[in-house]
């Protein structure tokens, strides 16, 4: 199969065109995933652009995004495939007298009666796809095992039908918020990418890209203040989405340079816990 990207720099600049600001680490791993044909497991704090990365790569490569949102209790019939029982029953009843059972059996277990769920759908798709398995840490360990075959062989075995192999190797992204340790088997099959809070420059770029009409000066100030706040010992540090929310709020308020008073009044957008807000207010020597 033809590689999707020429080099790491193309990935980075391509992502920028679709408004995703990557660093060399992120771009390097996406590049590698394509070249090695391996899924990427993305971990990191909440709101740092893990899900967005998969969406943006789909946009960049002109692929369809297929998303499997994980939750506790997700099972095979929701993730992989399910037989369409109603349709099967109707078929059995319609042909009650004419066909032999073995004919009926072969017929009702054909792809016509199969309901493809996201994983199977991604594999059987004719057009290019990006498969996003979001928040994989939420499924039980046993369910995780369902993913292994897909992730290493890009195929699905259906007892009644045989093995269905991918027509093309999709780019696969799994995200995790790290609420539990994923199995070694899963990790071995994936490339691992830890997405952390962006550095000053990148966060500023993100703000400039995502908040319409914001001035360079304000974006810079926002990124600096957020960096200072993240250095504190907090219950929950501000995420990129919170930085963006804050930037948008400041724009709505018509603020051009942030002073202590305004920072204090809007800290609750950046931070969720009272103790964190108090700490940040004090640290930035914003008097209460």
């Amino acid at each position: 199969m033809k590689p999707r990207f020429n080099d790491v720099a193309t990935v980075r600049s391509g992502l920028k065109k679709v408004n995703y600001l990557a660093d060399d680490g992120i771009a390097g791993v996406v590049f590698l995933a394509d070249r090695l044909g391996k899924p990427v497991l993305i971990e990191g704090p909440a709101g740092t652009g893990k899900t967005q990365l998969a969406k943006s790569v789909a946009e960049l490569t002109g692929a369809r995004l297929i998303r499997l949102q994980c939750y506790e209790g997700l099972d095979e019939s929701k993730a992989l495939y399910e037989w369409n029982y109603k349709k099967q029953l109707l078929r059995i009843q319609a042909d009650k007298n004419s066909d032999s059972w073995s004919e009926v059996h072969d017929d009702i277990f054909s792809s016509e009666f199969l309901l493809a769920r996201p994983l199977l759908e991604a594999i059987t798709s004719e057009e290019p796809v990006v498969l996003l398995i979001d928040e994989v840490d939420r499924v039980e360990l046993e369910t995780e095992a369902l993913l292994l075959e897909i992730l290493s062989e890009y195929q699905v075995s259906i007892p009644e039908l045989g093995t269905i192999t991918a027509k093309q190797i999709p780019l696969v992204f799994l995200t995790s918020n790290n609420t539990r340790e994923l199995s070694e088997a899963l990790k071995r099959r994936c490339l691992y990418l830890h997405v952390d809070y962006p550095d000053l420059e990148r966060e500023k770029e993100i703000v400039l890209n995502k908040v319409p009409d914001i001035s360079e000066n304000l974006a810079d100030q926002i990124a600096r203040i957020v960096r200072s706040i993240r250095q504190l010992d907090l219950k929950k540090a501000p995420s990129v989405s919170e930085t963006l929310d804050w930037a948008r709020t400041l724009m709505l308020l018509g603020i051009e340079t942030i002073d202590a008073q305004e920072a204090k009044e809007t800290l609750h957008i950046l931070l969720k816990y009272q103790t964190d807000i108090a700490k940040a207010a004090k640290e930035l020597s914003v008097t209460k």
Partner: protein, 482 residues
Amino acid sequence: MPVLDLMSGFIAELRNAGLPVSLTENLDAMEAVKVIPIEDRDAFKYALGATLVKNNAHWRVFETIFEVYFSLRGPEYAITQDGQPDDFWREMQEQIDQVNGQGEGKGSGGGMDSLTPEEINAMLMRALMSGDQAMMRALAKQSVQRFAGMEPGRPVGGTYYLYRTLRNLDLENMLQKLMDANRESSQQDLTSLEERLEKDEFESRIEQFKQEVESEIRRRLVADRGAEAMAKTLRKPLPEDVEFMHASRDEMQSLKKALYPLTRKLAARLARKRRHGRKGPLDFRNTVRHSLSYGGVPADPKFRYPRPAKPELMVIADISGSVAAFARFTLMFVYAIQNQFSKVRSFVFIDGIDEVTKYFKSTEDIGEAINRVNTEADVVWVDGHSDYGHAFEVFWERYGKDINSKTTVLLLGDARNNYHAAQSWVVKEIAKRARHVYWLNPEPKSYWNTGDSIVGEYGAHTDGVFECRNLRQLEGFVENLT
């Protein structure tokens, strides 16, 4: 040496450092280096990391080893020979001349070597002021060459050279100098917010410069001694293996960082376990719902899961000197997962004992609560040396009656009793009333019951004494506890 040859030593060293690199991962890494050129340094590093490091807590160890093995690679990292200025140095020379206002002609061909230490210092300050990355890197190299006093074959560690270099640069006072200069040069008065932000910016630049110096020293050491020997001297334990009793400040920091993800995972795992523990009675509706997948045959019966009662916990911790860090981490750990218990009470002692539950109740901030424990708790009775016997006696007198058959009691400490009376009858009485009593000891097993340690005497009355030297052991114990 070609990259592929370097790889085997590199991966062997990762394994030596405790990273669990499997065969598949090894092969993936070999594939990765074929498609990303080493000159693309950051991408190259992350690509290797993506194939070899599947746990973020291991990243720092990986980075250090990476630097050692690949530090001499990539053009911008070449070591310039003394007295041989290359293009970069010539360019730099022009800058220097400009800055000094001396035009052409000064110190012909000397490059930075002709600069006095004061001039280097002034240039560094300007570079830090403006955040000029290339200049900072060049000055880091130059400073090491001039000030570190490195000689081939000298058996001295990197920290010594780092210290010498930084001292010559007077880096300690740099932040203040930068702040002063900044205040002078700005038109209006800076608000306190602006000052604070400037300070953070300068601090991060100084830190970056320090790292450049450190890397330069490391590069030279690797050139002198070879990667393997260097990696060996730099070998550090993974955060989960750092000993509580001997953690440096840096390691404390990384321990603290590793603690929260760990507790979060543990809490999720425990909650799940509680839900899926024993099978209860048949869940009729759920079974019927699933039977649809089997053509209406209830082939996959579903059960309800009873929720076992959560235990009550009492933690009694020695917080004197050497075991203080251990007590702190264990308390943090326990409170971070306090939802897993129906009730948590905590007591700390040295030779006196005090209940500290209220500090944890009055705030969401565990760190702050721990600080209050350390500063406000009334734990000194006579001389501030551990006296387990006395502390236990007072505990029994005041709180013994609160222990019941639902209580699990954790005793934390090295049981080094300074040859005071043991009063181990208290532990025996506690064990009679409580559901379980455990002792956690941060010392290696081989030290137990040596000198004034009497952990055996106390332990005899408990349900078990556990070695708890690091986060890994602590996590393992807590998991089995609930």
